[in-house]
């Protein structure tokens, strides 16, 4: 579990990241989370898992490989999701002005760390 905490912290250290969590892809339940106050972990997990699943179906129907990053951009922030192994997702919620390039990099490296 030490690795899990380290991986989430690695992501939440990026400026503008409000939280990171590990989510079971099949049912959208939270496995572990490190969230800022006011962020509803269960909602983030369920919505991110559901959206990621739909994007995966869309991408595969377009003849593409399974996505390695899914990103929802909205007026006041961004939700990022990367797969960890076959069953889990690492999800981060970013503020509008967060450094998304760095956040994506840390997220993917954390996912590799968790998957190894």
């Amino acid at each position: 579990m030490r690795n899990l905490g380290e991986a989430l912290e690695r992501v939440t250290r990026v400026a503008g990241i409000r939280g990171a969590m590990l989510v079971a892809e099949a049912d959208g339940l939270v496995v572990a989370e490190a969230l800022a106050e006011g962020l509803d972990g269960a909602a983030v997990a369920a919505l991110a898992a559901s959206l990621t699943l739909r994007l995966r179906r869309t991408a595969t129907s377009a003849g593409l490989a399974v996505p390695h990053v899914v990103q929802l951009r909205a007026e006041r922030g961004t939700v990022l999701s990367v797969p960890v192994g076959d069953d889990l997702l690492l999800v981060a919620v970013a503020e509008r002005d967060a450094n998304l390039g760095l956040a994506r990099l840390e997220l993917r490296q954390a996912a590799v760390q968790l998957g190894s």
Binding site: L47, L51, L55, A62, L72, R76, G77
Partner: protein
């Protein structure tokens, strides 16, 4: 915030006669759990065999699962119970269109447009289907609904959809308005992608709203062999771009914004 599905399940367990199964089935469907949603809808239809909404829910779940025959049967039952039902007409039109039968889709689309005359997406879909038919069929259709908007002018004159095999514009029902999508192997995947895309738009909108992030602006999926970007040029349309993985995601975003502006201009010309 509690898990809405858990809450609805508890409500249904405490009152099995309740109509909450409709909301629960829809929530499960939206969460991508069609097998459980199907069981809930079946149970609801069993309890309320005369309730059009129950059959409509079942039909949408069956359509999601690709069982077109059973979905069509369920929607036909809806129309028996509630003639003119908007969802059933749209659903039957969608099934006919997907089966390559635009002539079969047209009466359902026209009935739907009659029930929702201000629906821009429906009006465009009706015109698109009419254009797909031969002249006599189109004339008959026009005579049957003279109040509908007249033409899909400019569909051929709009550069983003002419040159691109990686841009597609869809209406709110997931019907293609313009553009083509090609898979990396060169096959046309426009309709297959369109079928999933309507769900993505709804899901993105819901996620952004529930997480208090405001309106959704785009959704991107990056794969090793290509990137997808989805955005809503207008509230009732969705634009999807598909590009090779060598195109950086930031650049894809800029291309998408330009395409969205062009799509808005194109739609304005149609109005």
């Amino acid at each position: 915030m509690t898990d809405p599905i858990r809450e609805l399940t508890a409500q249904l367990a405490s009152d099995p006669q309740s109509l909450v199964f409709l909301e629960l089935g829809e929530a499960l469907r939206n969460r991508g759990q069609p097998a459980v949603a199907y069981k809930v809808a079946r149970m609801g239809v069993g309890r309320y065999p005369e309730l059009a909404a129950a059959h409509d829910l079942l039909a949408r779940i069956l359509a999601d699962q690709g069982d077109r025959h059973a979905a069509a049967e369920a929607w036909r039952r809806v129309l028996e119970l509630a003639p003119g039902h908007l969802g059933a007409n749209k659903g039957l039109a969608f099934l006919a269109f997907r089966a390559g039968d635009p002539e079969g889709a047209l009466p359902f689309l026209e009935s739907a447009l009659g029930a929702a005359p201000d629906d821009e997406g429906l009006a465009i879909a009706v015109q698109r289907v009419r254009l797909a038919l031969d002249g006599s069929a189109a004339r008959r259709a026009t005579a049957a609904a003279p109040s509908a908007p007249v033409a899909l002018r400019g569909a051929e004159g709009f550069e983003p959809f002419e040159e691109a095999r990686g841009v597609v514009l869809l209406d709110a029902q997931g019907l293609r308005l313009a553009g083509t999508l090609e898979a990396p192997d060169g096959s046309d995947v426009s309709d297959a992608v369109a079928a999933h895309l309507q769900g993505v738009s709804r899901e993105a909108s819901r996620a952004a709203r529930l997480l208090d992030l405001g309106a959704w602006e785009s959704v991107t999926a990056e794969s090793t062999d290509g990137h997808l970007l989805v955005l809503p040029p207008t509230p009732s349309t969705v634009l999807l771009l598909l590009r090779d993985a060598r195109v950086p995601v930031g650049r894809l975003g800029l291309i998408a914004e330009q395409a969205a502006r062009a799509a808005r201009r194109w739609l304005e010309r149609l109005a």
